[in-house]
Symmetry: C2
Subunit: 387 residues, 2 copies
């Protein structure tokens, strides 16, 4: 238990539930985009027509029909995949837990972006890794620094990356760096965990090939999630990789919780068969794009110039960098929440080793437009006063 971090995510979920606070904290999708009528029809069908199967146990690796649907989607995304290469998991988070269980021993090294996804640090913590964070910029993980880091550490077990619209910075790993990262992983014979919850939410530019599609050594574990493309409340994701890797993860999945909800797997499978999720995503993207633009425009209009912000091409997050010496956690607790009822995630918690205090993660996805503008404007006013 020594390594379990105090739970910032739990705090966020709690804040997100307080309706009086305008929270840019959680990475919640916009609930108004959930395909509710379609899901209602799917659940009604399953519970009226196929209830015995949908409510019973099923195979631990996941409902075969859903694994096949996921394999089709991954194949269409440049990763030739069969149902056997897919493990259905309890959201992407479970893939992080299982991957760490598989390869990390106490004290062994996990390489991450710096900063990195807080949920990954929480998932990895029980296995007690040492972290080797790698510098990032607007093109994601700096592979020159990655090379230095890999040469400086023995006993590295895993490179963990969110290549598309990273959490928390919003940065996307460039194509050149994707190739370089894989070459370095080959050279050092490392597992690469590619976490892609935001991949479908690109608002401009061209989609880059996944690491798994470029991998020739079967070393990439590709994680994805239905939380951001369908609904988080179903709690479904997938892990895809080499048969050997998926087999070993499947045994750990069985040990951890036997299986996912049969009903939710059947519903998601049927949704993918009966409806067009790509059309659904095509409807969602402009909404998120507008929210991103609204957030960036309102920041441009109301924030002091010395507050730097990223411009993500997709995903849910804008990353703020305040001047050196600014403490984003202190500002949140002392000023922003009590005076403006506005919240973000202080950035320090996303740094695995040396916590930088002058950052914040802002999510634009789950906040209605008027409250988004209102919240950013209030925050800008207080930042002007503070800086």
């Amino acid at each position: 238990m020594a390594g379990v971090r105090p739970s910032a995510i739990r705090e966020l979920l709690r804040l997100g539930a307080d309706p009086s606070v305008i929270s840019f904290g959680g990475g919640y999708p916009d609930a108004s985009l959930f395909p509710v009528d379609e899901l209602a029809a799917v659940y009604a069908h399953l519970l009226v027509r196929e209830h015995a199967d949908a409510l019973q146990y099923t195979t631990s690796n996941g409902l075969p029909a859903l694994r096949a649907r996921v394999a089709e989607r991954l194949t269409a995304d440049g990763m030739p995949t069969t149902a056997d290469d897919v493990l259905i998991i309890q959201g992407g988070q479970q893939g992080l837990d299982l991957a760490a269980k598989l390869v990390v021993d106490p004290g062994s090294v996990v390489v991450t972006e710096n900063p990195t996804f807080l949920g990954a640090l929480i998932a990895f913590a029980p296995t007690e890794p040492t972290y080797a964070p790698v510098r990032t910029d607007a093109d994601g993980m700096d592979t020159d620094d990655l090379q230095r880091v890999l040469e400086a550490h023995t006993d590295v077990r895993m490179i963990y990356t969110v290549p598309d619209f990273q959490n928390p910075t919003g940065a996307t790993l460039s194509l050149e760096r994707r190739h370089r990262l894989l070459a370095l992983a080959d050279e050092h014979d490392l597992l690469v965990v590619e976490d892609t919850p935001y991949r479908a939410h690109r608002y401009e530019g061209t989609s880059l090939p996944t690491l798994r599609s470029l991998d020739t050594s079967g070393r990439v574990l590709h994680l994805g999630s239905f939380s951001k493309i369908l609904a988080p409340g179903l709690r479904l994701g997938w892990a895809a990789g080499s048969p050997d890797l998926v087999e070993r993860l499947g045994l750990l999945k069985l040990a951890a919780d036997t299986q996912n909800s049969t009903l939710n797997m059947a519903a998601t499978s049927r949704y993918l068969e009966a409806y067009d999720i790509d059309a659904h995503l095509a409807r969602a993207r402009p909404v998120y794009r507008r929210k991103r633009d609204l957030m960036l425009e309102t920041m441009a209009a109301t924030f002091p110039d010395e507050v730097l912000r990223t411009r993500p091409e997709g995903g849910l997050f804008v990353w703020l960098t305040f001047p050196e010496g600014f403490d984003a956690a202190d500002f949140l607790g002392r000023v922003l929440l009590p005076e403006a009822a506005v919240a973000y995630v202080p950035g320090a918690t996303f740094f695995p080793v040396t916590q930088e205090t002058n950052h914040a993660r802002m999510s634009f996805s789950g906040v209605p437009d008027d409250r988004l503008v209102d919240g950013i404007t209030r925050m800008g006013r207080l930042l002007h006063r503070e800086l």
Copy 2:
């Protein structure tokens, strides 16, 4: 990964899915008992009226309304419990995984019944425990032997027990032994994990108080599941214990998979509010009781006398003991499956240390009556020929 056992449970799930085999293997509830109309109404309500909440993320310890409903039910079962004492988990299995993560280090000792639940051995395996199995009889874990075992081992971390209608033997821990087990746990200052998936399915006799209700030291972690009382496909269970224990397990739950399905938690909570689950259970019990009686009567009529069987007062399982030297796995693979298309779970896999080959676990819960009689009769004929 060294400790992950070849997955007998996965094999069972696969066999259970082959409709031509009469399988007494899986611990499947009878699908014809699922309260389908009620669940259909509940999902329809949630997806039409409350979809934004039911499809969104929620707090990681579980939907507050469901935690409150579970607390009420545990309180009514003799365990005064508040919602804060309850953690919603991904079936009872996840409670085993989290408990082992919390207290087991490689080589440290876990005490179990001998034989014990296979799923627990699978859940504990990644933490690499040493097992100290305790003799069992018709009254469950032999507490005299437990005393000897505890005195013989240093570094014991946990006593794991299924006190009601144990898996695989069907035995129920007597009241006297419940008190004695807790006294020994107090003396040695040990965590007791009480796993109660079958507790509501008592077909005769009087319900005994849970270990948690008798515990005065806050050392019992009480696990339960909706799989056998509502439907496995929802994949929901609970862990209840002292606030400190639940808090620490909650952090591990957050790390493992963030949360359970919001939709399924909301549906189960609403089902418990809108319908009478006790009336549902009162309708299910005579069905299972009849299946148990049918299995035992058919065995009495068709099995050789030298095949011993337990007579469980509840639950889903009858445990067979064949004569010394009989190999139940060999008989299954060589005779029973190929000649009669009948399956059970060979008993060896339920023994943590010294595997006894002359046992089988037979589940009566998920097999329609006519197939149950047919399967047992075919098995009896082949046993007569073999013995």
